[in-house]
Amino acid sequence: MGERVQKTEQDVQSAGKKPVATRDAYGEALIELGRKRNNLVVLDADLSGSTKTGKFAKSFPERFFNLGVSEQDLIGTASGLSLTGKLPFASTFAVFETGRAWEQIRQTVCYPNLNVKLVATHSGITVGEDGASHQAIEDVALMRVLPNMTVIVPADGNETRQVIHTIADYYGPVYVRLGRAKVPPVMPDDYEFRIGKAYTFYIGKDANIVAMGIMVAKALEAAKLLKDDGIDTGVINMSTVKPLDTDTLLKAARKCGLLFTAEEHSIIGGLGSAVCEFLSEEHPARVIRIGIKDDFGCSGKSEELLKLYGLTTENIVKTVQEALRQ
């Protein structure tokens, strides 16, 4: 992490803590990275306006490749570029990148362990009006199962920027999950992202919430409300879902045997599953998964959808209270 980058992040932070979409932070970070690294190439599949790679395309047209509407070819082409020493970032919507091109990622990125970065936007139900066809709620599960793959879900703009710079310095396949909607800044000014290191806001005595992505902000609000209610609740931002920060999980589970996971993703195969897989073997604890319960999304405003699927501060509070009453 260069000093210049740190400064930029602080500038952004001090500029008034405005909500920013993680995809916008990605677009900015790519331009910074493009200036720093001659070998950076960016690929997209006809969604460069939405994924924000279009900004890089304008600044570095000779290092940008639009593959058109062809996600499978997008992945293979990125693999080929990495074989010539380039650092490819390939972007499109999460559902197409991880779903349509899953086997391409398996065969030509993970199996040969190539240095390809997959940064997908429009994950989860907060895609909104476009509906279920465009709302990836399975992507973390699909990427997590692949050997050699690292899976990162940043919580805000600051963290996204750091993630993009950090993975550029790391060799190997990485999947980064970004969103369409604006999210409030949640990470502290002096926060430094490291792959595989969760950020602990606080460890609670009564309950701990392990969250990723947009659910970190909601978990923090919920913890505040629960504290007012006399329930000491901790919050952990598990932004690297793979490899999981098992030390941090153990600390939380040892302090209190009741954990909650919060994710804008199916409760099958995502963060909740990852936490359960680890704890059930290493330190059995009660884990309640808050997420989408084996269902598809639908059209609506993102706030409406979050409410419909229970991905709200209120529902986290209710779920914790109910669990403690049992």
Partner: protein, 277 residues
């Protein structure tokens, strides 16, 4: 390995192709499983690439100036392994370990286990996209290296192949030459019965490629086509090589069942006799 066309002794290349076929049959028999027909049909093409056209250094497999070869039809791994062994990437003895536990010679090529393999293949339809990416990267670098990609004919039924076909033409990848091993057979039968692929030449032309239609067992035709491809500018070249599945062994030729069957020891003996003639 570059040579002037005038000095190329076709007989030497044909002998080399025969050696490749012998090694293919031996390693498959030893392995007891694997893809015989499609390895034999590609033997002349792969010989022309490795023993005439391509630039590489077996002592330095990652040499920056090398030409790249992608075996998109990864099930023909034996023909590639034979070429790598005979060109000095590894000892010929290693061929006996094909498909066995712990061997770098996996059933389908694995780039992490064997140097000389540019990328792991085996899942059909993906190699051309990778070849495109390499060609783009080489162009950014201003490299004079060329990229060769060998596809099966059944393989072009995969949709991704046509995505990649568009990409190569769109980005004017004239440092790329693809070859289709058009042996007319796939696992379930004749391509024309399973899923029509003709007219292959017109399809690739329509996608913006320079297409050369040749007999894929005529060594001079292969050599000429590879040389011609190098002179074509602003467009990728596709060599449609009309081949015979199982070529070189009379009782394997044109037999669909030998797509995925290895020779028995008796068949090997008879085959080696034929190839010795």
């Amino acid at each position: 390995m570059k040579t002037d066309i005038e000095t190329v002794d076709m007989h030497l290349l044909e002998d080399k192709a025969r050696s490749l076929r012998i090694e293919i049959l031996k390693m498959l028999t030893e392995a007891g499983s694997g893809h015989t027909g499609g390895s034999l049909s590609a033997a002349d093409i792969v010989t022309a690439l490795y023993f005439y056209k391509m630039r590489y250094n077996p002592k330095d497999p990652k040499w920056r100036e090398r030409d790249r070869f992608i075996l998109s039809k990864g099930h023909a791994a034996p023909v590639l392994y034979a070429a790598l062994a005979l060109s000095g990437y590894f000892d010929k003895q290693l061929l006996k370990t094909l498909r066995k536990l712990g061997s770098p010679l996996q059933g389908h090529p694995c780039s992490r286990k064997l140097s000389g393999i540019e990328i792991s293949t085996g899942s059909l339809g993906q190699g051309l996209s990778v070849a495109n990416g390499i060609a783009m990267g080489l162009k950014i670098d201003g490299s004079s290296s060329r990229v060769y990609c060998l596809l099966g004919d059944g393989e072009i039924q995969e949709g991704q192949v046509w995505e990649a076909a568009m990409t190569a033409a769109h980005y004017r990848l004239d440092n790329l030459c693809a070859i289709i091993d058009n042996n007319g057979l796939q696992i379930d039968g004749h391509c024309c019965d399973v899923m029509h692929i003709e007219p292959i030449v017109n399809k690739w032309e329509a996608f913006g490629w320079h297409v050369i239609d040749i007999n894929g067992h005529d060594m001079k035709a292969i050599v000429d086509a590879l040389n011609k491809a190098e002179t074509v500018k602003e467009r990728p070249t596709m060599i449609v090589a009309r081949t015979i599945k199982g070529k070189g062994v009379s009782f394997f030729e044109g037999k669909v069942e030998y797509h995925g069957l290895a020779p028995t020891h008796e068949e090997l003996e008879m085959a080696l006799k034929e190839l010795a003639k």
